[in-house]
Assembly symmetry: C2
């Protein structure tokens, strides 16, 4: 079923202990779209790029059946650019460059055909921009999923809380859940956040997996313990893309199905970190995905 993704389509330059990339394709919208494209097919992205954005990258998205006419091209502008360097353990990184470029004046316009998308995935962006997208949707999507980060808690808390009140599913990491709620216990944090609007809260814990909270129910999804993490960039976006992609594929927003969707998201994210940037995500086969899903099943299976 139809999925609209809003998020950055960008250039990244990544340095890890394993090596360094040049300017490669990146951005939350890109990772979300590519991850979802392995699971469902009616996908549109709303974003903005500059005249320097190569046709090759646009073609990659199209090749994955992602409709790109919502990606506005500003011919004399430059594409959003982020550069970062990961520490030895890959759990921490330093941002070296953040050039907003065309993103600085981004006013998202949802193409007419996308306004009635059944599912809306708001990638991490300025909360006011996320809100502008929600306002253009008619009728309201069946499910609105929002990703965000601590940066907006520090700099635009009122706007952030406003958008959070409008969505169904919020995805943040454990430290962000603590910051947003003022509670250290994730149970207590979740209870507070679930009074702020969302009916579902997904707490991402990186190498420790993820927790889904809904009413008084909790689901704990594992992360796949990996031999090597090559490049963590985009793992959280890929997770979100796998999650919403599976929801869009199945059209089922029950708690039981959301649990499955989280496993799909975790499986997709476990691929992304195996190579630089979107490389592994772009080349995945259905067989790879099914095999990884079975590994997740084995990882946690026990009988009492």
């Amino acid at each position: 079923m139809s999925l609209l993704v809003i998020g950055t389509v960008a250039f990244d330059e990544i340095e890890t202990p394993r090596g360094k990339t040049g300017k490669i394709l990146g951005g939350a919208g890109t990772y979300i779209g590519l991850a979802a494209s392995h699971l469902t097919d009616d996908i549109k992205i709303v974003s903005v790029v500059g005249g320097d954005f190569p046709e090759e990258h646009m073609s990659l998205l199209k090749k994955h059946n992602i409709r790109t006419d919502g990606i506005k091209v500003i011919p004399d502008g430059k594409t959003f650019f982020w550069a970062g360097r990961y520490h030895e353990n890959m759990n921490m990184r330093d941002t070296l460059v953040t050039d907003l470029n065309v993103l600085a004046d981004f006013d998202p316009v949802v193409p007419g055909h996308a306004c009635s998308s059944k599912y809306l995935m708001l990638g991490n962006l300025t909360p006011a921009i996320q809100k502008r997208v929600i306002e253009q949707m008619e009728p309201r999507p069946e499910l609105i999923v929002m990703d965000t980060m601590n940066f907006w808690m520090d700099t635009a808390l009122n706007d952030l809380v406003d958008v959070i009140s409008m969505v169904d599913v919020l995805t943040i990491n454990d430290e962000e859940a603590r910051q947003l709620s003022g509670e250290y216990s994730l149970n207590k944090a979740a209870k507070k956040i679930l009074t702020m609007g969302p009916r579902y809260l997904i707490v991402k814990k990186g190498e420790h997996g993820a927790l889904l909270f809904h009413e008084d129910k909790i689901f704990h999804a594992p992360a796949m313990p990996l031999e090597d993490v090559f490049d963590p960039t985009g793992a959280g976006d890929t997770f979100a893309g796998g999650f919403i992609g599976y929801i869009a594929k199945t059209g089922d927003i029950s708690f039981e199905n959301m649990k499955r969707a989280i496993i799909y998201g975790s499986a997709m994210a476990s691929f992304t970190v195996e190579k630089f940037g979107t490389e592994r995500l772009a080349e995945l086969s259905q067989e790879d995905i099914q095999k990884r899903l079975q590994e997740f099943v084995s990882l946690v299976a026990f009988e009492i």
Copy 2:
């Protein structure tokens, strides 16, 4: 089936943001024994206490069907005493006092009836003392489980590696697995440690659960997300006690059964942190345990 536990039986004084105890019953041997006692019945503890150790505490162990004649009483000595203070988030603590007292000269003597115990649980102690116990066992136990900590990696690495080479299951936390192996990736760390002697490695991750490594298999056990952690003291020991208690109850050391044993260990540990010291562990009912186990099943259940 018969289980021998070696570990400290001690006094603890604990301060948390929730309050402060006086001198209460503590020690790895105590937590292991009490946790195991809810699952199996033929349990002996080898330890040492001073003349100040009250009959009331000894009675508590006996009430839980734990045979205590291996706990040597040194009438003019004082019992091992530890005092610590937890930080606000309960994940960090400062040690305020460590008085080894009678533990300083502890030379464990396994009573004749316990030398042939089928299962041996080595609680965290000086590696040389753990080894002295292994040497007294005849025949070799069917399964030897060893708990240890970073302190011995820093101060007695050679002795530690020597004992590790003699055991079947090693339980340490994630940072300790990294320190012992020199590998950041837990997969790589596990592969190295599994060449050092143990056939099974359990990596404890506190609020993030635990991982079991065996050959090329991995099992991920969740931790129960708790509303409040009241006092984390003894959680790791309780985990070990629940684990070995379930193994001793079932007499089955297959990988499949070890997975269940880890869930039992996790369930028992989730009780310990609900009150100060051994309070919650001592009062548990079978119904409490079964209910908590079902909560663990629900926590991770999904179908692909």
